[in-house]
């Protein structure tokens, strides 16, 4: 069972959108791959699209927070996009916040967020 979550590069961004449930090992592997790819590609930002993920538990939140803080230390911003309403509400009810992680409604808005801070260095569409 190989990790097959594609990480795409577009302009100065990486875009990743896991389409399968992230079991623990896969989530940790995915985190490592993302951080490696940030270094390799020298991008300034990463958009993490979670629109296909139907359950986000405290373990996954921790991985996301670690991706964001590690990326930041390496000079790249992370924005999480596409959180489902049921997932967002569940996290809030559990008392888990994504404080410290940038969020945007969808991929387009996530990219727009980066565009604003980097003078249009990301793809506009």
């Amino acid at each position: 069972m190989e990790n097959s979550i594609p990480i795409l590069k577009s302009g100065k961004c990486l875009i990743a959108s896991p389409q399968v449930a992230l079991h623990d090992k896969l989530a940790i592997q995915f985190k490592g791959n993302l951080l490696e790819k940030i270094v390799q590609t020298k991008v300034k930002g990463l958009v993490l699209d979670l629109s296909a993920i139907d359950v986000v538990d405290s373990f996954l939140v921790r991985q996301i927070a670690e991706i964001a803080s590690s990326a930041r230390i390496m000079g790249a911003e992370v924005v999480v996009v596409g959180l489902r309403p049921a997932v967002a509400l569940t996290l809030v009810e559990m008392g888990i916040s994504l404080l410290g992680v940038q969020v945007a409604r969808d991929l387009e808005k996530g990219l727009a967020l980066f565009n604003r801070s980097w003078e249009n260095s990301c793809p506009k569409k």
Partner: protein, 137 residues
């Protein structure tokens, strides 16, 4: 009318079982009549409880049963393990207490997602968590 549903008994022995448990929980919750929001709450709580059993006790058993009471339909989740027990239950239920470097919000979080949440833990013997949620109409 909700479909006829039966109990699910699952062994939690490895990581893949956590995903399996929440997929089963979601399907069962849907069959019992929970809306999508509640299915997500239940699946998330199941994920937390299954992981707790795996991380702290090396595994356990999970039972999911449709229940009825006072004309209400619901789902009961029971997770039993033979681990070391929860030393500081009060802190674990309050949240922010972790012995494994997690967020420490798994147990307190799943409690908030369910309607009934009972823990029976004994040092050196194990832990049984019983959680219920009722369909609201």
């Amino acid at each position: 009318m909700p479909k006829e549903v039966s109990d699910e008994v699952l062994d939690i022995k490895m990581e893949a079982d956590i995903i399996n448990a929440r997929v089963k929980a979601k399907a069962l919750a849907e069959a019992v009549g929970f809306d999508y929001m509640d299915q997500t709450r239940i699946a998330t709580a199941v994920s937390e409880l299954a992981r707790n059993a795996l991380e702290h006790a090396g595994g356990g058993q999970m039972m999911m049963s449709p229940v009825t009471a006072l004309g209400k339909r619901g789902l009961q989740i029971t997770v039993a393990d033979h681990g070391p027990g929860i030393k500081n239950l009060e802190a674990a239920l309050k949240g922010g207490y972790s012995t494994k470097g997690g967020l420490g919000l798994g147990l307190s979080g799943s409690k908030r997602l369910m309607d009934v949440f009972l823990i029976n833990t004994e040092t050196g013997k194990g832990t049984v968590v019983t959680a219920k949620k009722w369909v609201t109409k």
